[in-house]
Symmetry: C2
Amino acid sequence: MPRQVVFHETGDADVLKIEEQPLREPGEGEVRIEVAAIGLNRAEVMFRRGQYLEQPQFPSRLGYEASGVIDALGPGVEGFSVGDRVSTIPAFSMVQYGVYGESAIVPAHALAAYPENLSAEEGTSIWMQYMTAYGALVDYGQLKEGDAVLIPAASSSVGLAAIQITKAAKATAIATTRGAGKKQALLDAGADHVIVTDEENLAERVMAITDGHGVNLVFDPVAGPTLTALAQATARGGIIFVYGALAPAPTPYPLMEALGKGLKIQGYTLFEITSDPARMARAKQFVYDGLAAGDLKPIVACTFALDDIVEAHRYMESNQQIGKIVVLT
Amino acid sequence: MPRQVVFHETGDADVLKIEEQPLREPGEGEVRIEVAAIGLNRAEVMFRRGQYLEQPQFPSRLGYEASGVIDALGPGVEGFSVGDRVSTIPAFSMVQYGVYGESAIVPAHALAAYPENLSAEEGTSIWMQYMTAYGALVDYGQLKEGDAVLIPAASSSVGLAAIQITKAAKATAIATTRGAGKKQALLDAGADHVIVTDEENLAERVMAITDGHGVNLVFDPVAGPTLTALAQATARGGIIFVYGALAPAPTPYPLMEALGKGLKIQGYTLFEITSDPARMARAKQFVYDGLAAGDLKPIVACTFALDDIVEAHRYMESNQQIGKIVVLT
């Protein structure tokens, strides 16, 4: 029987348990995969804590991203075969589906092949990060050559994806990180500039870098009081995408900056892309093209064994990683 | 010598003084008008209080909107003649120009003829209100038939303009007002629905009116804590335009609603339109066409004499008016 990650209550990482469960058959429109690698996301930490956009129903599984090999097809599934090497796209609800474990069932529309030159670790590290950054910066933000993009919390997998997408567009990537420890790694990952927010004034540094214009786009997963500094750093008519709620403190709306500069502050999640078939198709093609061109290269921070899932979640919450945390089954 | 409204310090309405000043000649690119009527705006109250986007330099004049007859042209002005009947478009800084008084000088680009069938009172009641509402709802918001628009503080001149523009687009206009006293007047002014926020739950009423969808566009001059209720009332992917800062309390950013529904919250002022010649030309044509078609009809709340400018400002601050407050010279 496959070993699956389950939790029975919200809480700290140690609520995650590994349990043997009977192998289930995929239903109508579903596909089952034998999981090789699991890509961890901050969304799963929030879901485990009961702080996500949807609430778990217990006992609950969790997990948006896995790579593996198809071992069963449900009725009505076309375009896939048993034995295909695929990874999951987070185009489902974690209340219904979760991929942490040795076996996972997902809707067929949430599966895609990944390029042959990628490992299983890399294959589970592409869809969430690149589609999320693509949807905001390219699909909504119309990122273009010469733009400047501000990327807070840039050492996350999505942040690094945003750096790569910004550089591929010949725009300027300005990364932020709290402490100086990750500065060199972010420069190595392609950031044109890194602002260490514990030591530097964010808005002043951005204005110095951009000759006083400010950035055209901001891609922020944090919110909280820092949103005002991000608004101060944004150019007239710029867009601030808020795609997460990592800050524990409330978020004041930067009213005077918004009025004075006509700023747009846009709440954004990947579901806006995955729930729209045309947008989703464009996003997939963008990721395939970027991987093929070498503009997009997934960065795996480190790997854990499935037995160490609690440690893997704790590591994510420690904010030490630069890139994707992957769990191998 | 013309009698002009001047203030020497920020404060309550009684800081406004009427002083005789020598008749000035218009400079390069400027035009002087003999003022017939002055349209009052909330922006001038904020400027007088020192709470506007720019700060007065004393002694300061004030005022964005006046109608009158051209009595002098500065060097280099083309397209206008002495004797033309015009009104001013708020396309200048009040630190440099102010139109409260018997004579006003403004840049030529901030003048336009108004239709012959409009009185001087009506002629000074078109540009700020219609261009402001047009810029947000039509130019940015792409208002279309079948949309639902939420219009807080709807009895202001800009709010009434938004109702007329919404109805002209065959969209649904949902007005809000604090007390029940203005409800019938707002229905008479064309609102499809009026929500009395002191008595009714705003988001619940909007959801009932829109069959649970919420509104596509919000056009809000207030901000403050109510922004969260506006976000709750907004449909997935909707836009909230914030074009003022009337609320004395801070404005929390409605993070969870923004993330959950992909909401855009956009700071907006008319300067975004008037500082862009192509947008400004489209806006002027929209107003001319709407006035000619009868879709747009300026509503004058009441008139005051120039000697009663302090009373006129107090009346605006009392929030009793429905429509434009006009001062006659």
